[in-house]
Amino acid sequence: MLKIKNLSYFYNSKKNILWNITTELQPGNIYGLLGLNGEGKTTFLKLIVGMLIPKDGAIEYAGKLSSERSAEYLNDVYFLTDHSKLPDLGIEQFGKLYGAFYSKYDHQQFIDCIKEFNIPINNRLRALSLGQHRKVHLAFALACNSAVLLMDEPTNGLDIPSKAIFRKLLSRYINENRIFIIATHQIRDVDTLLDHLLIMKNGSLVLDQNLYQLSIQYKISKSPLDVDKAMYVQDELTGPYYLVKNDTNDESKLDIEFLFNAVTTNTKPIEI
C-alpha cells in the first residue's frame, strides 16, 4: 500500500502547490489522477517517486519513505514522465542496460511490448520518432514490474491504434500487487481502465473515490424531473445533463469527464 500522509509542497513558500494531502492507494487498482493545468499533478507524482522532497508530511511504500530515495524504494516506484528523452542506444541494449537496475525487470516482457507496439526491435533509439520513443519508454516502464507505476500523460504522442495497445498492455500487466497511477488530460484514452479517481483542485484532493462506489452513489440524468435534485448541471448540445444521487443502488454509467467538470467547475462544492 502506498501511504501519503499530510503531504504539502511548495516551490515558493508564499504559495502552496499541494496542501495537506492524505490518502492510501491500494494494490490491484488503476488510479486516474485528474486536475486542471497547474494544479500540481506532476508535482504530486514527482513527490511520490522522490524527485521532490515533501515540505511537510510523508510518502511511504512498504515501510520506505520517498524522501530517503533509497534504491529499494526506487526499485518499487517507477515514474514515466510526460516526455520521453532516452539515451542513444539500440532498443534491446537500452532495455538490458537500464533494466539491470530493476530486480523485477523482465526483458522478454519488454521485447513483447515493443513488438506489440510494432516498433522494429533492431532500431537505434535516435532513429525513432517522438511517439515511438514514448512507446519504448512505456514498454520499459511496464517491464520494470515495479510495484507502483506512475504515468504522467502516458498517451502523449501515441497514435490512435497505439492508445488501444497501451490500454491492452495496462490491463494485461496490472495485478493484485501493483498500483498504476495515470495523470492525464486525455481521459477518454484511459477511462475504461480506471478503478479509482483522484481529482485535484487548489492543491488538495477534492475527490478520492472508487469509481464503482461513485457509480452506485451517483448517476447522470437527462430527465427534467431531476432538475431539483441536481448537484451539478452541464449544458450540452443535446440539452442539460444533471448529476444526481443514485437512488436505485444499481451501478450507473458515469462519465468521468462529466464528473471531473462537476467537481472542478461547480460553484457549489459537491459533497462526495
Binding site: 524527485m51 530515495r69 537496475f101
Partner: protein
C-alpha cells in the same frame, strides 16, 4: 557493487565516442603544446636537418641533453580530464528522464571511478606520446651526443634526469597528479550540481578564489618567520592539509547534495 558497475556501464554505452575522442583531443593538444612549448624539440623532431644546419650540428648535439622534458605535460594530464568530463557532466545531475534505483553513495563511488578512468585513459596517451619522444631521442641521438661530448674532450658525461632523453620516465613520475586530480574533482562535481551551466568555469573561479584566500590566510601565520621552520612533516601538512580538508568537505557536500537535490 553491481549497481555501480551497471551505472558505469550505462554512462559508457551512452558516451562511447569518448573512447576515440579522448585520444584524438589528447594527440591534437599534445602536438599543439609540442609546437609552442617544447623549447625547440619540435624543430629537432620534424626539421632536424634545417635546424642543425642553422645552429651547427656539433653545438646542437652538445646542447641536446639540456633540452628539458615536457614539463607542460602536467597541465595536459591534469586539465584534459576535466574537459572530457564536461561532455558528460549532465550525468552528474540528471539521468535522462527517469530515476534509477541506485543510492547516492554508490552514485558517488561510480563518479569517482569514472573520473579516475578518464584521468588514467588520458594519462596513458600522454605517457605513450612522451615515451615515443624519449625512444626517438634515445635511438637517434644518444650515441651521437655521447660521441660529440667525447670529441669535445668532455668524458664520462651523464645526461641529466630532467632531460628530454628521459621524457617518458619523467611523465611516469607525473602520475602523482592523480592526487591533485582527486583533490580538485569534488569541486568540479559539486559545481556540476550547483550550477549546471558553465559549471567548469564557475567551479574553477571558486577554486581560484579559495586558493587565493587560502594563500592570503597562510601569510598571516608566522609572517617573516617561515624560513625558520625545517620540519618536513609540517610542510607536508601545510601543503596538503587545507586543500585535502576542503576536498573532503566537498565530497561530503556533493554526496549530500546528490541525496537532497530536487529534480
Amino acid at each position: 557493487m553491481k549497481p555501480i558497475f551497471y551505472y558505469l556501464r550505462t554512462i559508457y554505452y551512452s558516451h562511447r565516442y569518448l573512447l576515440f575522442s579522448i585520444p584524438l583531443i589528447a594527440v591534437v593538444l599534445w602536438l599543439i603544446s609540442l609546437y609552442f612549448f617544447s623549447n625547440g624539440a619540435y624543430d629537432i623532431i620534424f626539421n632536424y636537418q634545417t635546424f642543425s644546419t642553422k645552429v651547427g650540428e656539433e653545438s646542437l648535439l652538445v646542447e641536446l641533453p639540456n633540452l628539458p622534458f615536457f614539463s607542460y605535460s602536467q597541465v595536459l594530464i591534469l586539465i584534459l580530464p576535466f574537459l572530457y568530463l564536461m561532455f558528460i557532466q549532465s550525468n552528474f545531475y540528471k539521468s535522462y528522464d527517469f530515476t534509477l534505483p541506485i543510492n547516492s553513495g554508490k552514485k558517488l563511488i561510480a563518479y569517482i571511478i569514472l573520473g579516475l578512468m578518464i584521468f588514467l585513459y588520458n594519462y596513458l596517451f600522454i605517457l605513450i606520446f612522451n615515451y615515443a619522444v624519449e625512444i626517438y631521442f634515445q635511438n637517434k641521438f644518444y650515441a651521437v651526443v655521447m660521441r660529440a661530448f667525447d670529441n669535445k674532450g668532455v668524458l664520462y658525461t651523464s645526461i641529466p634526469r630532467h632531460s628530454i632523453f628521459y621524457n617518458g620516465k619523467m611523465t611516469l613520475e607525473m602520475f602523482d597528479q592523480i592526487k591533485v586530480f582527486l583533490t580538485i574533482y569534488p569541486f568540479f562535481l559539486f559545481g556540476c550540481l550547483l550550477f549546471q551551466k558553465y559549471s567548469l568555469l564557475k567551479s574553477l573561479a571558486i577554486l581560484v578564489f579559495l586558493a587565493i584566500l587560502g594563500k592570503y590566510i597562510s601569510t598571516c601565520f608566522w609572517p617573516g618567520q617561515f624560513y625558520k621552520i625545517i620540519n618536513p612533516t609540517f610542510f607536508l601538512i601545510y601543503g596538503w592539509g587545507p586543500p585535502l580538508t576542503a576536498s573532503i568537505i566537498c565530497y561530503m557536500a556533493f554526496y549530500n547534495f546528490l541525496k537532497e537535490k530536487e529534480v
